[in-house]
Amino acid sequence: MFAIGWHDNGSVRLEGRLDAASAPQAREFLTGVQGICRLDFTRLDYIASAGLGILIAVQRRLRDDGGGLVLAGLSPHLREVLGLAGFEGIFEFE
């Protein structure tokens, strides 16, 4: 089960499993974000490469407009995977 929506503090909250099946839902939601956008991963249990691909594409679009994604609340494992994959300089981490 995957859910994505706006948090009261203005960040985007992701919940559950962001895999290939739920990736279109995430893509559709993130198409609408602008500027600097904070993504809260605290309640996200799992993210597959399909989800990461969407984040990279959104980051490309936002960066071209002077904005960007800030990834917050990542599990130590996901943080390590993103670092190993070479995404350190691409996203801002919080």
Binding site: A20, S49, L52, G53, H77, E80, A85, G86, F87, I90
Partner: protein, 340 residues
């Protein structure tokens, strides 16, 4: 203005194949092939053309066949074999691991071959009409590139079941490539028709190969990234012993010394880390990003080589069901070595 005429003829004979090659490089979404590698493949094709010239000249004398029959019956097999040699090295050493990079490098070898061949004919027939060079540029040159690309594509396609290193896919692909080349040469009695057919078939065939290649690559990328990430998590959390992977490693303790099994686990972890790096690079390249430089990359690759030596051939064979570093995945090592 004879110089201008020669330049125009050379442009007509060589530019179409180079433009087609450039369009293939630009269509490579994941930038699998660096421009330097394309240049080397072009050079290899040129060397193949020179080698073929001497082999064909000798065989023409030995067989005593009239030139046209020789061009249909013997030359295509000789030329495809010699052009395919460099491609064979690229594929068997996993420097070309996918349909897309194989098609680009194969086409580049064929293009290099065609350019040297056309340069030779330009020197021999400087006064031939422009139409001859248009046919050689749009027909013969594109045929050389297309057939060599197809040879590589067939090897990668057939090799998925049998392994690209085995001989049978190569023999089948070589015979089909030589047959297509021979058909082109056979119909050169109607050169405009042969050229028109090449122009009609080649772009469509390449488009199909491209679509198939990118779909396969995306599937490999997605599945591989997720598997590597999951396995790394299990190893890191010390939970691997409760999984089928862990149980398999435990079973290896009956056949290998404990220190070797420990090295196997280290190798598995390092391979996961490096696989994630390689696949992350492709995910980023697709969106036009360059990955951040990893200062430890060269040391990690050296560590993999040391661990492979320590584990030994038997250990690597035992690790094959788990390892993420053979088959198409072996290509990743070359990508990372380019970065380190």
């Amino acid at each position: 203005m004879p110089e201008l005429n020669v330049a125009a003829r050379a442009a007509v004979a060589c530019l179409p194949v180079l433009l087609f090659l450039a369009s293939l490089v630009l269509l490579d979404t994941f930038r699998l092939v660096r421009r330097r590698r394309v240049a080397v493949a072009l050079l290899a094709g040129g060397v193949a053309a020179l080698a073929t010239y001497f082999v064909n000249t000798a065989l023409l004398d030995v067989t005593g066949l009239p030139p046209f029959r020789f061009a249909v019956l013997v030359a295509p097999l000789v030329e495809e074999t010699v052009k395919g040699a460099y491609l064979a090295w690229l594929i068997t050493t996993r420097r070309a691991g996918f349909l897309v990079d194989t098609a680009i490098l194969g086409f580049a070898v064929g293009a290099g071959f065609a350019i040297v061949e056309n340069a030779y004919y330009l020197s021999q027939l400087p006064d031939a009409p422009l139409l001859v060079w248009a046919i050689r540029g749009l027909g013969t040159a594109l045929m050389h590139g297309g057939v060599t690309a197809l040879l590589g594509l067939m090897v990668q396609g057939f090799g998925e079941r049998r392994g690209a290193g085995s001989g049978r896919p190569w023999l089948t692909a070589l015979l089909i490539a030589a047959l297509l080349h021979a058909l082109f040469n056979r119909y050169m009695v109607q050169p405009v028709v042969a050229t028109a057919l090449t122009l009609a078939i080649l772009p469509g065939a390449m488009a199909v190969a491209w679509r198939l290649g990118e779909r396969r690559l995306r599937r490999w990328l997605g599945r591989g990234f997720d598997l590597d990430s999951e396995l790394l998590g299990l190893i890191r959390d010390g939970q691997v012993t409760t999984t089928p992977v862990g149980r398999y490693l435990q079973s290896l303790r009956e056949s290998f010394r404990p220190d070797v099994v420990a090295d196997m686990l280290c190798l598995l972890r390092l391979q996961c880390e490096l696989s994630l790096r390689a696949k992350g690079t492709l995910l980023l390249r697709e969106q036009g990003f360059a990955p951040t430089r990893d200062p430890e990359l060269a040391a990690k690759l050296a560590e993999v080589r040391w661990l492979e030596k320590s584990v030994g051939h038997a250990g690597l064979l035992a690790l094959r069901p788990l390892a993420r570093w053979h088959g198409a995945d072996a290509w990743q090592r070359h990508l990372l070595e380019e970065q380190s």
